[in-house]
């Protein structure tokens, strides 16, 4: 049991590339922390630094009250699950799980108890004598999990463990991982680029971009109050609609209190098709360009009738002027139809012109 604290952690490669630009995160004992961000944002590098597989060039990594910057991976009392599982191909499932315990000189009887217990929990008991190549993807994933839990480490590290599985298995394994972590109550750090995985797993969510932390917090709190336009567009699917407040049409609707804001964001689900204009809210006339009916809901892709530049925001960027609206699955406007959508004041997200600061109206 341990908390993990990152204090101003930096990583600069020889050659000057700065992969991690000063990260501060505090994961309390037993918490499930998810690092999420687009590829290349440094989340995997950060995880590997916690594991000890990458050197730390600045700041401190603290596991259970001990600064581990200079400590070998083996001595950090962590276990890691890799994206490609990294099972030892020449060893049986049993030996894969026992390997780490044998290296630590544990008695064979104790090893047997632990491996069999882990195998029982992960439903691998019938496969202990098999080699990894004789297992399916999901089974290999469970062996990798088993290898981590038999060690009874202070911290679990997960590096995109589900991204090699098919969609259906990914969802069931996601639930399994969460249940297992709750039961074992081991501090965990989990890296993913999938915002849905991040939202569902995390006690504490760390959104990263370009080697920096954009926002840390409870997943729902982040969803409700994204701190930057990056977080706003990265968390939530489909992404939040972001618009410049410069056009008079929008500025006049927002009123004087929001004059500092350069960007206004509205989630697709916060729009409603209506002729009314809520006070202080935003109403937009749209031409329907495309619709996606997925059953429970319908996504309407509309273009603004008035000329306007949509604020560029990565990722999930839309062509300028395009707005996504989510409406109940029972409704479906015709393509080419002129509609009017509106969002109430409380559902607006206001940001400074550079998108780096959230403004509370």
């Amino acid at each position: 049991m341990a908390n993990v604290t990152l204090r101003n952690v930096r990583k600069t490669y020889t050659g000057g590339f700065e992969a991690i630009k000063g990260v501060n995160v505090d994961v309390a004992d037993g918490q499930f922390c998810v690092l999420v961000g687009p590829s290349g944002c440094g989340k995997s590098t950060l995880l590997r630094m916690v594991a000890g597989l990458e050197t730390v060039t600045g700041g401190e990594i603290d596991i259970g009250g001990r600064v581990v910057n200079q400590i070998e991976p083996a001595d950090r009392d962590i276990a890691m699950v890799f994206q490609n599982y990294a099972l030892y191909p020449h060893m049986s499932v049993y030996n894969n799980m026992a390997y780490g315990l044998r290296n630590r000189g544990m008695a064979e009887a104790e090893i047997k108890t632990r491996v069999e217990e882990a195998a029982r929990v992960l439903e691998l008991s019938a496969m202990l004598e098999r080699k990894p190549r004789q297992l399916s993807g999901g089974q290999r994933q469970r062996v990798a999990m088993g290898r981590a839990i038999v060690r009874q480490p202070k911290v679990f590290l997960f590096d995109e463990p589900l991204s090699n599985l098919d969609a259906k298995l990914r969802i069931s394994m996601r639930v399994e991982i969460r249940k297992l972590q709750r039961r074992l109550n081991v501090t965990s750090i989990y890296v993913t680029h999938d915002q849905l995985e991040a939202m569902t797993l995390a006690d504490i969510l760390v959104v990263m971009n370009g080697g920096q932390v954009e926002q840390v917090g409870n997943p729902l709190a982040i969803y409700e109050k994204p701190a930057t336009t990056f977080v706003a567009s990265f968390i939530g699917a489909p992404p939040m609609n972001l618009m410049s407040t410069r056009p008079d049409e929008i500025k006049s609707q927002l009123g004087g209190s929001a004059t500092d804001a350069g960007i206004v964001g509205i989630r697709p689900e916060d729009f409603a098709i209506t002729d009314q204009t809520p006070a202080g809210g935003v109403a937009l006339p749209l031409t329907v360009e495309a619709i996606e009916r997925v059953g429970a809901e319908t996504f309407v892709y509309g273009s603004r009738q008035h000329e306007d530049q949509r604020v560029a925001a990565t990722p999930g960027e839309l062509p300028p002027g395009e707005i996504i609206v989510r409406i109940p699955g029972t409704e479906a406007p015709a393509i080419g139809a002129k509609i009017r959508v509106a969002a109430v004041r409380q559902k607006l997200h206001l940001f400074s012109g550079d998108g780096r600061t959230r403004i509370e109206a």
């Binding site: 594991a51 000890g52 597989l53 070998e72 991976p73 083996a74 962590i78 276990a79 890691m80 890799f82 994206q83 490609n84 990294a86 099972l87 030892y88 191909p89 020449h90 390997y99 780490g100 290296n103 630590r104 190549r133 290898r147 060690r151």
Partner: protein, 293 residues
């Protein structure tokens, strides 16, 4: 699914493979057949008459203690060359597999010796280790070693093994490096997190995962030591002093071309041929057993 090329004419495919077939037939099958026939013949001392003697040449060979010595010597040389070359190449490959500055240069330099022809290798080492010309010999003698491979059979044998192993390191290094790079990095990282120290990691993870490569190279190295060392032996020691560096392949040459005993020489080459076939068979049989990641 097998890919099949479609030809308009039935003759065209045969015409296309004909040049390659001709080379194989003229340079491999024809001489091999000649050797088999020759091995059943006995020529008189002046080459005037030839008699068909069935297996007399073979029987003679197996009664000859010198032939047995050559067999034992060849096996000893082969294993010595294979083991020393393999272990040194593996050591270098493991070191070169790390992300080092200038690793490309290091790798390129390590591959160079493979481009050197065996006789040149022999000359190169002679220049360094010749008792009167050699640069290294001077230091050896200064260090109190009675270094004279021209007189001392064991030293001559060591010299041959050294030169032959050195040349083969490049080849082995290449295969080991490729083998190491085929293993996902995360497997080593998992082992590091699992508490395995570098030495233990090597013996419990790297070595078993490389075992198909090691086995393949062992066979290749033995074949190399059996046959391709001819150039090295011929330039360095000519089988001497005495017969202390005469291997099977050198004996084929010295008995046949220098000694004029064509029948016995042919019989020896037929035996060598059978050995190669067996070795290649073993290799094909086991090389399929691959490790999957």
């Amino acid at each position: 699914m097998q890919k099949q090329a479609i030809f308009q004419s039935k003759l065209l495919p045969y015409a296309l493979v004909a040049p390659q077939l001709a080379i194989v037939l003229i340079f491999f099958y024809w001489p091999a057949l000649q050797a088999v026939i020759q091995s059943f013949l006995l020529q008189d001392a002046f080459g005037l008459s030839t008699t068909f003697v069935w297996f007399d040449n073979y029987i003679e060979l197996f009664r000859d203690p010198a032939y047995f010595e050559a067999i034992v010597r060849t096996f000893f040389f082969s294993f010595a060359i294979a083991i020393s070359s393999l272990s040194f190449a593996l050591l270098l490959a493991v070191m070169a597999d790390k992300p080092l500055r200038g690793s490309m240069l290091y790798r390129t330099l390590l591959i160079w010796p493979y481009a050197v022809a065996p006789p040149v290798v022999g000359v190169l080492w002679i220049f360094m280790l010749h008792p009167s010309l050699g640069v290294v010999s001077r230091y050896l003698r200064a260090a109190g070693v009675d270094w004279n491979p021209l007189l001392d059979g064991n030293q001559a044998a060591a010299l041959i093994i050294l030169a032959a192993a050195w040349k083969q390191i490049s080849y082995n290094f290449l295969f080991f490096l490729a083998g190491l790079q085929a293993i996902p990095r995360s497997v080593f990282e998992a082992a590091a997190i699992d508490g395995a120290r570098p030495m233990r990691r090597f013996w419990t993870v790297t070595f078993p995962l490389l075992s198909p490569t090691i086995f393949f190279l062992l066979v290749v190295n033995i074949v190399y030591a059996f046959f391709d060392t001819f150039g090295i032996i011929d330039t360095m020691t000519r089988g001497g002093p005495g017969t202390s560096t005469v291997t099977l392949v050198y004996k084929v040459y010295s008995d046949g071309l220098l000694g004029g005993n064509l029948g016995s020489s042919a019989a020896q080459s037929v035996i060598l041929m059978i050995m190669v076939i067996v070795l290649t068979g073993i290799q094909f049989r086991f090389v399929e057993r691959k490790v999957t990641y």
